[in-house]
C-alpha cells in the first residue's frame, strides 16, 4: 500500500475511532467504575456492576431474551427460506417486483411498523374488532411474548430473506441439473445440494436476525408491555429510568459478549467464510 492510499484511509480510521471505538471504551469505563464517582480525579474502579448482574433476576432476563430471539430467528428462517427460494425461482421480470414488495415495508420507520402491529393486535384492534363483529369474545393478543415474536419476525424477516435469496440466485443451476441427472428427485436435490450450498446465506440471515432480536428494546417495550424485562428494555430502564449508567453499561458489555460468543459458534458452521459470520 502506498502513502497515497494510506492517506485515503485516514477519514475512515478517524470515523471508526470516534464513533465506534471511543463509545465502546466509554461504556466499558462506566461498567468498571462505581456509581458514586462522577469526576475523573476520583474514579473508583470496581467489578460490583458485573457482580450485581449474576443475580437470578438478571440471569433470567438474559435467558428470556435469548430464548425469545431464538424463537424469532427460528420463525424467520422457517418463513424466510421458502420465500427466498420462491423469489429466486420466479422469472427475472417478476422477481424484482416481488423483491420490492418485500423490501417496501423497510422504507418505513421501524417504530411506525411496530405501532401498526399494536393497532392490529390491540384489545380494540383489527383482529378483535373482527371477532366481535362475528359475535366472538375478544382475545388478549397484545402485551405478551407472542406479540413480541410476531413483531420481531415481521421486522427482521427481510434480513433473513435477502442473504438467502442472494446465495440462491447466484447458485449454479448446472449443479441442480447434475443432481437430477445423477438420479435425485426434487426433494433429494434440495436436501443434498441446494440447502447445503445455501448455508452461508442461512448463517448470514440467522446472524442478521438474531443480533437485533436479542438486543431490541422497541419491540418488547411496545408489544410486550412492562410486565417482563428483556436485555434491551433492561438496559433502557437502567439508563433512562433508574439512571444507573454504570450497571447499565455492564449489562451492555455482557450483551456484546453474548452476541460475540454466539457469532463465533455460528462461525464454525460457515465453512466457506462467506457469510456475515466471517466478520468475527
Amino acid at each position: 500500500m502506498n502513502k497515497r492510499q494510506k492517506f485515503f484511509a485516514y477519514p475512515y480510521g478517524l470515523w471508526m475511532t470516534l464513533f465506534i471505538l471511543l463509545p465502546i471504551l466509554l461504556v466499558f469505563l462506566y461498567s468498571i467504575t462505581s456509581k458514586d464517582t462522577n469526576q475523573i480525579k476520583t474514579l473508583r474502579f470496581t467489578l460490583d456492576n458485573y457482580r450485581k448482574f449474576f443475580d437470578p433476576l438478571y440471569i433470567n432476563v438474559i435467558i428470556r431474551s435469548i430464548n425469545l430471539a431464538l424463537i424469532s430467528t427460528f420463525f424467520c428462517l422457517v418463513i424466510g427460506y421458502p420465500v427466498a427460494y420462491i423469489i429466486s425461482t420466479t422469472n427475472l421480470k417478476k422477481r424484482n417486483t416481488v423483491l420490492l414488495l418485500f423490501i417496501l415495508p423497510m422504507w418505513m420507520n421501524m417504530l411506525l411498523r411496530t405501532y401498526a402491529w399494536m393497532t392490529i393486535l390491540g384489545n380494540n384492534g383489527l383482529i378483535n374488532s373482527f371477532l366481535n363483529m362475528l359475535g366472538l369474545p375478544s382475545f388478549r393478543l397484545l402485551y405478551n411474548n407472542t406479540a413480541i415474536v410476531i413483531g420481531m419476525v415481521y421486522n427482521f424477516l427481510p434480513f433473513m430473506v435477502l442473504p438467502i435469496y442472494t446465495v440462491l440466485s447466484k447458485m449454479d443451476m448446472k449443479l441442480v441439473e447434475a443432481s437430477h441427472d445423477l438420479g435425485a428427485d426434487h426433494k433429494t436435490t434440495f436436501l443434498r445440494v441446494i440447502f447445503p450450498l445455501s448455508l452461508p446465506g442461512v448463517i448470514s440471515g440467522i446472524i442478521m436476525v438474531f443480533m437485533p432480536a436479542v438486543s431490541s428494546f422497541v419491540i418488547p417495550r411496545l408489544l410486550g408491555g412492562n410486565r417482563s424485562l428483556y436485555i434491551g428494555t433492561l438496559i433502557e430502564n437502567l439508563f433512562l429510568v433508574t439512571g444507573d449508567w454504570h450497571f447499565g453499561s455492564s449489562v451492555a458489555i455482557i450483551m456484546m459478549l453474548i452476541i460475540l460468543a454466539s457469532m463465533s459458534i455460528l462461525n464454525r458452521f460457515d465453512v466457506d467464510k462467506e457469510g456475515g459470520a466471517g466478520l468475527w
Binding site: 448446472k174 441439473e177 437430477h180 441427472d181 445423477l182 438420479g183 433429494t188 447445503p196
Partner: protein, 349 residues
C-alpha cells in the same frame, strides 16, 4: 450378435425445439448401442439443445424421443438411465471427491462398503486413485474433468452424454483426454453421445459423426465418409479445409469450373446443373506452369510445421493448397488433381 450390436438405444423422431426462434428443426437421429456418436457443428447449431433433450433437461416442442423403443418424452431426468458430463463439470463444491463420485449411489441407498469399492474402482479407471478426500477446488481442470466422468459412469448408465467436456483444457491435455475417453468408452462398453465444435476431435474419437448447422442435421456418417464424401458445401467447409468452387455439371462424369472442363467420377445430376466443386487442399499438386490444368500465381506461403500452406490466385479464385514442398511468392505455377479428387455437391439455389 450383429443384430444385438446394432440395436437402437436412442431414437429422435422429428424433434423440433422453439424458443423465440426455432433452434432445432425436425431432427431425426438414432444412436446404436455401444456407439460413440458425436454431434458436431458451430456454436448455436443446436447440438447442445439436442443433448439436453436427450438428457431430459429440455423438452422438445415437437417430435418424439425413444429410449430402447419406449417413448420417454415426459420422463424426468432422474428417471432416465442416462448420465451427463457437463460442459464445466458441475461438480458439487460442498462435497469432496469421494462424495461427488458416490452421489448417485448414495441416492440409490447402496451400502457403504459397496460404495467405497465402486468409488475406488472408478478412481482407478480415471487414473486418480488416492484422491478420495481431496477438495474439488484443489483439483486442476483435467482432474475435475475425470471426476465428472467418474461421477457419471459409477451409475452404470446405458448412455453417457458429454457436452464439450474437453473445451476448457489446453491442447496437449485435450489430445491425451481424447484418446483416454475413447479407451474408456471401449472398456466400459457404454454408448457415448458427444457434443463438440472441434472437427478434429469428432473425427478422432467417433464411430459416427452427425454434422449440424442452424438446427438441422447436415450429414450423418463415419468420420471417413464425412471427410471424403461431404454431402454439401457446409460439411465440406466445416470438416477440414476446402476449396469450394461454383461449377456446372455438363453431363455424367464431366464438370466445368474455373473456365475448364474436367473428367470426374460423379454422376446422377441433371444436364448443366449448377453445382459446387470441392477440392481438398492436400489433394492438389503444384507442377510447372505448362503441365498444370489450372494456372496461377502464388500469393502467400506459410510454414505450418508438417506442411506448407499456399494460396494460389487463379484469376478470380484463391485456391488453398497444402504441400510438403513450397513455391516462393510471386512464382507462376500450374495445378493438377485427379478425377477422384473432384467432389461434386448439389448447389442449393
Amino acid at each position: 450378435m450383429e443384430v444385438f450390436l446394432n440395436r437402437k438405444i436412442i431414437e429422435l423422431k422429428n424433434i423440433s425445439k422453439d424458443y423465440t426462434v426455432r433452434v432445432l428443426n425436425k431432427v431425426n437421429l438414432y444412436v446404436n448401442e455401444n456407439e460413440f456418436l458425436t454431434l458436431l457443428g458451430p456454436s448455436g447449431c443446436g447440438k447442445t439443445t439436442t443433448l439436453r433433450i436427450i438428457g431430459g433437461f429440455e423438452s422438445a416442442s415437437e417430435g418424439d424421443l425413444f429410449f430402447e423403443g419406449e417413448n420417454i418424452n415426459h420422463l424426468p431426468p432422474h428417471k432416465r438411465q442416462i448420465n451427463t458430463v457437463f460442459q464445466k463439470y458441475a461438480l458439487f463444491p460442498h462435497l469432496n471427491v469421494f462424495e461427488n463420485i458416490a452421489f448417485g449411489l448414495r441416492i440409490k441407498k447402496v451400502s457403504t462398503s459397496i460404495i467405497q469399492e465402486e468409488v475406488r474402482n472408478m478412481l482407478k479407471l480415471v487414473n486418480l486413485s488416492g484422491f478420495e478426500s481431496r477438495n474439488i477446488e484443489s483439483l486442476s481442470g483435467g482432474q475435475q474433468q475425470r471426476i465428472a466422468i467418474a461421477r457419471a459412469l459409477i451409475n452404470k448408465p446405458k448412455v453417457l452424454l458429454l457436452d464439450e467436456p474437453l473445451g476448457a483444457l489446453d491442447l496437449k491435455l485435450r489430445k491425451e483426454m481424447q484418446i483416454e475417453l475413447k479407451n474408456m468408452q471401449r472398456e466400459v462398453g457404454i454408448t457415448f453421445v458427444y457434443v463438440t465444435h472441434d472437427q478434429e476431435e469428432a473425427l478422432t474419437m467417433s464411430d459416427t459423426v452427425v454434422v449440424m448447422n442452424n438446427g438441422e442435421i447436415q450429414q450423418i456418417g463415419s468420420p471417413v465418409d464425412i471427410y471424403n464424401e461431404p454431402e454439401n458445401a457446409f460439411v465440406a467447409d466445416f470438416i477440414g479445409e476446402s476449396n469450394i468452387v461454383d461449377g456446372i455439371m455438363n453431363e455424367d462424369f464431366l464438370v466445368t469450373f474455373l473456365g475448364r472442363t474436367f473428367k470426374c467420377v460423379d454422376s446422377g445430376f441433371s444436364e448443366n446443373e449448377p453445382i459446387h466443386v470441392v477440392l481438398r487442399p492436400e489433394d492438389i499438386t503444384i507442377v510447372s506452369e505448362s503441365d498444370g490444368y489450372l494456372k496461377g500465381t502464388v500469393t502467400s506461403t506459410i510454414f505450418k510445421g508438417v506442411h506448407y500452406e499456399m494460396i494460389v490466385n487463379i484469376g478470380t479464385f484463391d485456391m488453398l493448397i497444402q504441400s510438403t514442398f513450397h513455391s516462393p511468392v510471386g512464382e507462376k505455377v500450374g495445378l493438377r488433381f485427379s478425377p477422384e479428387d473432384i467432389h461434386i455437391m448439389t448447389r442449393e439455389v
